[in-house]
């Protein structure tokens, strides 16, 4: 083997190791990626499909990932782009009037209905079911839901969410704020119905 071939062989071996490391790390994040995907789409099947499409693309373009950066955010960026490409339908901006309610909306409603003790942990769980939460999230308009799911379910920072969705951080904050208020309003409607 000549010197050039030896150098080539070393380069290929290094690259192959890098790729395997990338793949192992990406697969290790699959459950966390799925948890976010599941709340961005309507069904389990769609979520599985979306995650698989994300990994197909990630494995192909692994070289564009910079080692040492946030791989979970990198994967979610691919995923949210694919989800947009799926052509989800454009939604009307929700009625803004109820958003005049404050952040304490749900707390105030529960407290008004049942007194301050309603704000205890057990009472929250008693009043809200898992189905309420899943249902309320799924009813949020997409733009709000993306941000609420990334920050509240995926536990991404505002900055990561901004990068994933390719929007300014101020947009993340305002969508999060309005999205959470809408979510609480829906939870209040359901839990006090």
């Amino acid at each position: 083997m000549g010197e050039t071939e030896a150098a080539d062989a070393r380069r290929i071996a290094t690259e192959a190791r890098g790729r395997v490391r990338f793949e192992e790390e990406a697969l290790g994040l699959a459950d966390q990626v799925y948890r976010v995907a599941r709340r961005l789409v309507g069904t389990r099947e769609e979520a599985e499909e979306l995650v698989q499409d994300t990994y197909i693309r990630a494995f192909r373009s692994w070289n564009s990932y910079t080692p040492g950066t946030n791989m979970r955010a990198w994967l979610l960026r691919i995923l949210t782009n694919l989800n947009l490409d799926r052509g989800r339908k454009i939604q009307r901006t929700p009625d803004l009037q109820p958003l005049e309610e404050g952040d304490y909306f749900l707390a105030n409603k529960l407290a008004a209905a049942e007194g301050e003790q309603a704000l205890d942990q057990e009472r929250v769980v008693e009043k809200l079911s898992q189905d309420n939460v899943v249902g309320a999230l799924s009813e949020l308009p997409h733009d709000f839901r993306d941000v609420v799911v990334l920050v509240d379910i995926g536990e991404f920072s505002y900055a990561d969410a901004a990068q994933i969705l390719d929007v300014p951080m101020g947009t993340v904050m305002s969508r999060l704020h309005r999205g959470r208020r809408l979510l609480k309003q829906k939870l209040a409607e359901e839990s006090l119905a």
């Binding site: 790729r19 699959a30 599941r38 698989q52 494995f59 939460v133 509240d152 536990e155």
Partner: protein, 81 residues
């Protein structure tokens, strides 16, 4: 607490950022200072914190069995180096 402490409104504004640990240091001081002295806001702060945890836990669904194997198989479809 007084029924409507003038600080409550400002505190309510800061609370979401405080819960997200995304406030500037001077805002943290304002929020914590108010929470220390206001029972009304403290109760609501605890409620919001629990509500978030509850939302996270109840909306989080584990990856279905079999998905990881499918993803692992996708590696074989990648182009050669």
């Amino acid at each position: 607490m007084s029924d409507h402490d003038p600080g409550c409104e400002r505190c309510e504004e800061l609370l979401q950022g405080y819960l997200d640990r995304d406030l500037a240091p001077d805002e943290v001081v304002v929020a914590e200072g108010h929470l220390d002295g206001c029972d009304y806001c403290r109760r609501r702060y605890r409620f919001e914190e629990r509500l978030r945890r509850y939302i996270r836990v109840s909306a989080s669904e584990r990856m279905p069995a079999g998905l990881l194997a499918k993803l692992t198989e996708l590696r074989d479809e990648r182009p050669a180096l």
